[in-house]
C-alpha cells in the first residue's frame, strides 16, 4: 500500500478511494475465485459436507487417466464441445463477414437490416432455445412441416438424432449470434481508409482483388478479435444443449460446461468440476494463443 507522502505529485489516496468499490468486487468475485478454484480442485470438495479432504492432484489425474471412471464422461463432454466449436466458429467468422461486406455500402434500409440481424442477440439463450426447440420438434415443429411441404424429408429428429442435433445446435447458435459478429465487422470495415481502396482502383485492381488485397488484410485485427471471442463463447456453450437437446441423443451433445455444472453444482463433486474447468480453460488459452500466432504470422508475411 503506497503512502501519500511517497507519491510525488500523485493522487495516491484519492485514487485508491475511487478504485475501492470496484476492487472489492474484483477481488471478491474474480481474483479470489480464480485462486479458490485451484484450491478446491485439490480437494475432495462437497459443498454440502463439512469435511473436504485434501487429495492433491487426484482430481486432475482421474480426469486424465483412461482407467478412471471420471475419464469417459469428461472427455465425451470435451469432445462434444470440440465438435460444436469446430463447426460453429468457422461459420460465425465467415457468414457475418459476408453479411457485413454486403451491408458496408450506403443503400436504403441499411440501418433497418442491421438492427434486424442483431435483434436475436439481445434475446437470452433460454428464449432462443425454448423457441427453436418448438420449431424443430420432430412431430409438430414448423421446420419439418415446411420441409415436407417442399418435398424434403419431414421427420428429421433434429433434437435427438445424429448428426441432425449438431446441425440444429450450430444453426441456432449462428442464427442467434451472427448479428453480433457482423456489427463488429461493419465497424471494422468503416475504419478502413478510403485511400487504400482508391489506390487499389488506380492500380486497376478488380473487385475480388480489392477484397483479397485491401479489405481482408485491413480487417485482420478485427477478425482476430472476432475469432477469439467466438472461440471462447462456443467453447462455453451450455444453454442451447441444456434447453434444446438436454444432451441427447444419449449424452452426445452434453458439452464440457454442461458436465462441469452438473458435476459441481448438482452432484456437488466440486473438486472434480473445478479441475475439469481448469483443464478446459488451459485448453482454451492454448487455442487462443494458436489463433493469435496464426494472425501474427500472417501479418508478418504481408509486411515483407
Amino acid at each position: 500500500m503506497p503512502s501519500v507522502s511517497t507519491v510525488r505529485r500523485g493522487d495516491g489516496l484519492v485514487a485508491w478511494l475511487f478504485l475501492a468499490p470496484y476492487l472489492v468486487l474484483f477481488l471478491g468475485f474474480v481474483l479470489l475465485p480464480i485462486v479458490l478454484g485451484v484450491w478446491i480442485s485439490l480437494h475432495n470438495w462437497d459443498y454440502t459436507l463439512p469435511g473436504k479432504p485434501f487429495v492433491g492432484i487426484d482430481n486432475y489425474s482421474n480426469l486424465l487417466n483412461p482407467d478412471s471412471v471420471a475419464f469417459e464422461p469428461f472427455w465425451d463432454a470435451m469432445k462434444a464441445t470440440g465438435i460444436f466449436t469446430a463447426f460453429s466458429v468457422p461459420l460465425l467468422i465467415a457468414i457475418p463477414l459476408v453479411v457485413a461486406m454486403v451491408m458496408n455500402q450506403k443503400f436504403p434500409g441499411r440501418n433497418f437490416f442491421r438492427a434486424v440481424y442483431f435483434a436475436p442477440y439481445v434475446l437470452g439463450v433460454a428464449v432462443v432455445g425454448v423457441m427453436w426447440r418448438f420449431l424443430l420438434d420432430r412431430n409438430i415443429g414448423a421446420v419439418n412441416s415446411y420441409l415436407g411441404g417442399l418435398g424434403l424429408p419431414d421427420a428429421i429428429a433434429w433434437l435427438s438424432s445424429m448428426p441432425a442435433a449438431w446441425f440444429a445446435l450450430v444453426g441456432v447458435t449462428v442464427w442467434w449470434t451472427l448479428g453480433f459478429n457482423a456489427v463488429i465487422y461493419i465497424a471494422g470495415l468503416q475504419d478502413i481508409p478510403r485511400e487504400l481502396y482508391d489506390a487499389a482502383k488506380v492500380d486497376g485492381a478488380g473487385r475480388w482483388s480489392v477484397i483479397w488485397n485491401v479489405t481482408l488484410p485491413s480487417l485482420r485485427p478485427v477478425t482476430m478479435f472476432v475469432t477469439i471471442v467466438t472461440l471462447i463463447a462456443s467453447a462455453n456453450m451450455f444453454g442451447q444443449s441444456f434447453i434444446m437437446t438436454n444432451g441427447a441423443p444419449a449424452q452426445e451433445t452434453r458439452t464440457a460446461i454442461f458436465y462441469i455444472a452438473e458435476t459441481g453444482l448438482q452432484n456437488f463433486q466440486m473438486g472434480q468440476a473445478a479441475a475439469a474447468s481448469w483443464i478446459l480453460t488451459v485448453a482454451l488459452m492454448l487455442l487462443s494463443l494458436v489463433v493469435f500466432a496464426i494472425f501474427r504470422a500472417r501479418g508478418a508475411l504481408d509486411v515483407s
Partner: protein, 274 residues
Amino acid sequence: MRGAKQVLRYALLVPLTLLFVSPLVFMLVTSFKTPNEAVQTPPTWWPDPFTTQAYERIFNAADTPVLRWFANSMIAATANAAIVVVTAALAAYALARLEFRGKKVVFALIVSTLFVPPVILIIPNYEIVGRLYWLDTLLAIIVPTAASAFGVFFLRQFFAQLPRELEESARLDGANRWQIFVQIVLPLSKPALATLALLSFLTNWNDFLWPVYVLFSPETQTLQAGLSTLQSANNVRYDLLMAGAVVASIPVLLLYLLTQRFVIEGVSRSGLKG
C-alpha cells in the same frame, strides 16, 4: 449495372430478414393459440380462436409464477447495471486520469481477466456465494457479475480520450477530483455510461447458467432460469412455453428498439478497441 447490384443485394437481405423475423413472429402468434392449435400441423400464422388463456394460466400458476420472475429479473438486471456503472466509472476515472503507484499493475490485472473464460469462476463463486448465505436470493444474481472488467476497460478508454482542458481549468479554479469527476467528466460521458448500463442490463437479464444453479425456489427465479422450469413443468404445452418466452423477450426487445444505436455502437466499439 448499379440496378442489378441493388437487386442482388436485396435478394440476399430480404430472405435473411424473413429468417430472422419469422421465428419471433411465430412465437408471438403461438402464444395466443389454444393448446391444440399450438401443436397443429401445418402451422397456422393467425390464432383461431384468438385467446389469452396461455398468459392467464402461466401468470396464475403457483409453481411457475411468471409475473414474480418478471419482477425478479427487472430488479436484478437494474441493480446489476447500476452497480456496474457506478463502480466501473469510479475505477475507470482513477485509471484514466489519476497518478498513483501501482496503476499499471492494477490496470493490467483488470484487463488480463477480460479474456478469462467465465467457466473458471462458476464453481468457486458458488462456494463464495454460499458462504455469504446468498444462495437462492437475488443477491447471488446481482453482485458477483457486477465486477465488470469490461466496464472498467470500456469507460477508461472513453474517459482517456476526453479533452483535458475543461478538467484542468476546473482544477485551477480549485475544484477537487470528486467535483471534477461528478460535474465535468460524468456529464460529458452520458452516451458511454448509457451504453454500459444497457449492455449490463441485457447481459444480466439474459444470464442463464448461473441463475439455473444458484436459484432453486419457484419465487426466486429469474425469467431465463424460470423458462427452463416452465419447460420441465409443461413439456409439450407450447402455447404456455411461447407465452413465457414472449414475456421474457418483450422488455429486452423494447429496450433494444428504443436504444439500438447505443447498443450497436457499444458492441462495435468493444471490438475495435479490444
